[in-house]
């Protein structure tokens, strides 16, 4: 009964009034969520949305992981085998998760959310911290900015999504993502219709923040199902204020406020994130993705704004033509070849 089946990507951005609690959409919601205070379902007019995860509350039950898998099952890849023989075979490898769909201790194309665990001693107390991990939904996402085909994009409501019908599966997004979040499945997608052996290698998958549920005025599956109300979603400015308040209250720490210039996922924890990062099973920052099935265990270390240089260079691209015009006006390059030399024949 806790299962909510979704039809695909509606147009209805108007369903948002069907808030939770009573009647209508409320009937579809699991009891756990309905009972839980009044989590407000965000509206399209709320602009950029962010989520807050209160790590002091998470009991690591994994209900969110299960809900994510069920709720998004219709989006999962169904690859055809055999896969194309990639060229060159020494460099391009097929990545196949379709026989390992049950793996739930890391991110995969079939598992967009998993729980990390950190046992941390801090100020004389021991903590057992559970951390639901998925895409951070960066405010300025490099995965989207640097996608050569426009397949990955950030929506105005703050969701970063990878469109499975355009994605070529080159996995650039995974490399440029500071947390290496997107995961590849070979044997599906556009590349199969183009030059499957020579360009592309499947489709990249990651949390899309249940965009189709948000469009209908419903909460993302992982938020809705959580028995401990670990997650809250709302307009970014409200979520930031709440995260700060909560961190102050528990004398804790926030992850996601500054990381990569700010993300739309804010973790609040009673212990410092460096301590958490030290002990979690992870793929460290800036370590090459390497061979095999890629890293699916994000770190929790500090991340500088990876697009900062581009932000600075943007000014140069604006000033350059102005400088050029000035130089031209001053006569640089104005001299035309003499008429005599100019015999056109």
């Amino acid at each position: 009964m806790g299962k909510t089946k979704n039809r695909d990507g509606g147009v209805s951005r108007r369903g948002f009034l069907k808030a939770m609690g009573v009647g209508g959409a409320g009937m579809l919601l699991p009891a756990a969520a309905a009972r839980a205070g009044e989590p407000r379902v965000p509206r399209p007019s709320d602009g950029e949305l962010a989520t807050l995860l209160d790590l002091s509350k998470c009991i690591g039950c994994g209900a969110c992981v299960e809900a994510c898998r069920e709720s998004n099952a219709h989006k999962f890849p169904e690859p055809e085998k055999p896969f194309p023989d990639l060229v060159p075979s020494s460099r391009a490898k097929n990545e196949d998760w379709s026989d390992k769909r049950d793996v739930d201790d890391r991110l995969t194309p079939y598992n967009w959310l998993y729980i990390q665990n950190a046992e941390v001693e801090y100020e004389g107390e021991s903590y057992d911290i559970n951390i639901p991990r998925r895409c951070m939904h960066c405010q300025n996402p490099p995965c989207a900015n640097m996608c050569p085909f426009g397949a990955a994009g950030k929506q105005t409501n703050g969701i970063t999504r990878i469109h499975d019908d355009i994605c070529m599966g080159g996995a650039k997004c995974r490399t440029v993502c500071p947390w290496n979040i997107p995961q590849r499945q070979s044997g599906v997608g556009l590349y199969k219709d183009l030059m499957p052996r020579f360009a592309g290698n499947g489709v990249m998958y990651k949390c899309d923040r249940c965009y189709q549920k948000l469009e209908k005025g419903e909460l993302p599956a992982c938020i809705e199902v959580c028995p401990e109300n670990v997650q809250t979603i709302g307009p970014r400015h409200e979520i930031v204020a709440e995260a700060k308040r909560l961190a102050k209250e528990m004398n804790g720490f926030i992850y996601g406020l500054e990381e990569n210039g700010g993300t739309n996922t804010l973790y609040v924890s009673p212990v410092p994130f460096d301590e958490i990062n030290k002990v979690i099973d992870k793929h460290p920052l800036n370590k090459p993705v390497g061979k095999g099935l890629g890293p699916g265990k994000p770190h929790m270390g500090p991340v500088k704004d990876v697009m900062a240089d581009e932000t600075n260079l943007a000014t140069a691209t604006l000033l350059a033509p102005v400088a050029g015009i000035a130089a031209g006006i001053l006569g640089l390059g104005a001299r035309l070849a003499d008429k005599e030399d100019d015999d056109e024949s």
Binding site: E48, P88, R91, A92, Q139, N140, A144, N145, M146, C147, P148, F149, G150, G153, K154, Q155, T156, G158, R161, I166, G170, A171, K172, T175, V176, A199, G261, G262, D305, V306, M307, D309, E310, T311, L313, A314, A316, T317, L319, A320, P321, V322, A323, G324, I325, A326, A327, G328, I329, L332, G333, A334, R335, L336, A337, K339, D341, D342, D343, E344
Partner: protein, 153 residues
Amino acid sequence: MKARPYPRWISRLFILLAGVLAVTGFMQMPITKRYYLSDLPGMAWSANFYTVHRVHYVLAALFLLLLGIVAANWFRAWRGKLALTGFGWARIAVVAALVVSGGFRVYRNLPGVTLDPSLVLAIDWVHLIAAVLLGVLALAALIARRSAYAVRR
């Protein structure tokens, strides 16, 4: 041979910049590692997507600088003396599409800017298609021996 009345260094710089922009543009696709390009001596940098991206930005700034010089000269001094060729017109239109779509991409990459995803998709494809088109037009003009953008009136 003197089909181009405007300074030779402008032509050469234009061709050079357009060429390396095209190369670094295509290197935005994840191909340099797969096809061992980054293993060539001196090409290791091409394996880093961020480096390639930033190099493309710098080259784009230089290209815009050159376009600024040419545009100023055109309106200040050349307009009365030179006339654009057919191939000149066509390539200018394509370069304009590249500049506008590229400008949008730079704008889109700024923090605090979120454009509609379908607009972004259109921008990305205009940029990619225009780059290919410029190459095709340049080749056609070369074969037709009409590479000059403008000739004397």
